[in-house]
């Protein structure tokens, strides 16, 4: 456990010192505050569009941060040759992968906390009300979805040679899942035949990141969030899916030759 913790702390330190997060946060904050300064028919209490915009920016920023940070982890270790003194210690490849995963995930979690705090403050300043419970649930679901994305990027970093290609593919897949996943069954039913069957299979196999993405609407329209049993099941699903991705990554990585 010490080993995994130690590797995760190094990843966290890297994130903090690289300043990626600060740039993304500043951009998000600037755009949100700019949009908030627009006069909408002399009504300063309108917050719906602002929340929607801010949530979209938060999702984009979190995906960029999660994917780019994770995609470069193993590649940078190999390129910079830091993987050799690390694996020359009593560190297994599984511990390395898990440590990298937790480092990236916790870093993204901290970033998400700051983003959602900012969003809550902006919304509360306009609406004079804050549904803390809803924000917490949305943030936890978002964090759970990011675990899957990070798992995907880690697996991709073992399969693909370059972090750029890994990052691009992960980003495209993540965006496709977020926007289209929910509708795949409708498409499958109307397509029919072998294509419909394959589409339905994809519908069941792919991770349901759209669950976390779509609850934004509940925040925007003040709808009640899903009950605890439902959203907790979603988080368990994300955890299980991430575990599968990490297992596959380990199976591919454990026998990979690393030549000095």
């Amino acid at each position: 456990m010490n080993t995994i913790q130690a590797i995760a702390i190094v990843v966290l330190k890297e994130m903090i010192r690289r300043k990626d997060f600060y740039v993304l946060f500043v951009i998000t904050a600037l755009i949100t505050l700019l949009m908030g300064s627009i006069n909408i028919f002399n009504d300063q209490s309108i917050a719906g569009y602002l929340k929607e915009l801010a949530l979209l920016l938060i999702w984009v920023s979190s995906l960029v941060m999660a994917i780019t940070t994770t995609a470069r982890q193993l590649h940078a270790e190999k390129e910079n040759r830091t993987i050799f003194p690390l694996l020359a210690k009593p560190v297994s490849r599984a511990q390395l992968l898990i440590g990298k995963f937790f480092g990236c995930w916790i870093a993204c979690g901290l970033a998400l906390f700051v983003f959602y705090l900012f969003l809550g403050l902006v919304a509360a300043s306009r609406e004079h009300t804050l549904e803390i419970g809803s924000y917490v649930v949305a943030m936890l679901l978002h964090w759970g979805a990011l675990a899957v994305v990070i798992g995907m990027a880690l697996l991709g970093s073992i399969i693909f040679a370059a972090p750029s290609s890994n990052g691009t593919i992960c980003f495209v897949v993540a965006v496709a899942i977020l926007t289209l996943e929910r509708h795949l069954n409708t498409v499958a039913l109307h397509t029919g035949g072998i294509v419909g069957t394959i589409t339905y299979a994809i519908y069941y196999i792919t991770p349901r990141l759209d669950w976390a993405f779509d609850v934004r609407e509940f925040l925007v329209f003040h709808n009640p969030m899903p009950v605890f049993a439902v959203w907790f099941q979603a988080i368990l699903f994300y955890g299980a899916y991430t575990a599968v991705l990490l297992l596959v990554a380990w199976l591919l990585f454990r026998r990979r030759a690393l030549n000095t």
Partner: protein, 265 residues
């Protein structure tokens, strides 16, 4: 009464093959049937020309590469198990560490991996930083270090867990004479403390001075293993000349000379 000391580093019929990634490319044999033993307290030189298989051997010992057949053990543990590396320190030839960390943070990170308790950890960090003369720069990020300083950081991380076996891959490569001297001093000091040192080097003059035993590899095969003094005596020349003869190197146009009595010291 004869006491049998178990080797702390042992390879048995170690064979490593690499498949070519090109279509139709064959198999490259990097090591053939390597049998090696290193005993506690020895300073062991691992020699060979470029491409001989030294790095491949080290990669197998450190778990970076899996052997095609045969076995390798460290402290009686199969090298595939991470626990086999609990008591070793490794200094790679090219030293690159996390540039965004300070030397202190890097050593703390590696110390945590070895499960060194906190109080002892900090004491150990102080000791090794003083040993490699990096105490004044411990709070600076490694990206601000010179090459020599980075090499010393490498040595520090190899010593952080007070290892019983040190594996050094060309430890004096790229260093100035002062740096080389300091590395030799450290190796000598470790030897005096009873540590085992296993290192590869092209500086045969240094090897002759420091090492107790050497192994000479060529084209994946172990050509010769034995005490330095014995090899030098056998070939009646210095280690460098003996090395060249063992690997069968002759300058063009010069017939290979067999050492005679008149060349003896």
């Amino acid at each position: 009464m004869i006491s049998i000391v178990a080797p702390i580093l042992k390879t048995e019929n170690l064979r490593v093959e690499f498949r070519s990634k090109e279509v139709g490319g064959g198999i490259k044999v990097a090591l053939t049937g390597l049998n090696l033993e290193v005993f506690p307290g020895e300073t062991f030189g691992f020699l060979g020309p470029n491409g001989a298989g030294k790095t491949t051997t080290m990669n197998v010992l450190l778990g970076f590469v899996n052997a095609t057949s045969g076995s390798a053990h460290l402290f009686g543990q199969n090298v595939r198990e991470p626990i086999a590396r609990q008591r070793i320190g490794y200094l790679p030839e090219q030293t690159y560490y996390y540039k965004f960390l300070t030397a202190e943070e890097l050593l703390r990170f590696y110390a945590r991996i070895f499960n060194i308790p906190k109080a002892e950890r900090e004491k150990r960090i102080d000791e090794v930083l003083k040993l490699v003369e990096l105490d004044h720069a411990r709070k600076r990020q490694i990206k601000t270090y010179s090459k020599g300083m980075q090499q010393r950081v490498g040595l520090a991380q190899a010593l952080i867990n007070n290892p019983d076996l040190l594996i050094l891959d060309e430890p004096t490569s790229g260093l100035d004479p002062i740096g080389r001297m300091k590395v030799r001093e450290i190796i000598q000091r470790l030897k005096n403390e009873g540590k085992t040192v296993f290192f590869s080097s092209h500086e045969l003059g240094e090897v002759e001075t420091i090492c107790d035993r050497v192994a000479i590899l060529h084209q994946g095969e172990l050509k010769r293993e034995g005490r330095v003094a014995d090899i030098v005596r056998e070939f009646n020349c210095d280690l460098e000349q003996a090395f060249l003869r063992i690997i069968g190197y002759t300058p063009q146009g010069t017939p290979m000379e067999i050492p005679t009595q008149s060349h003896a010291a």
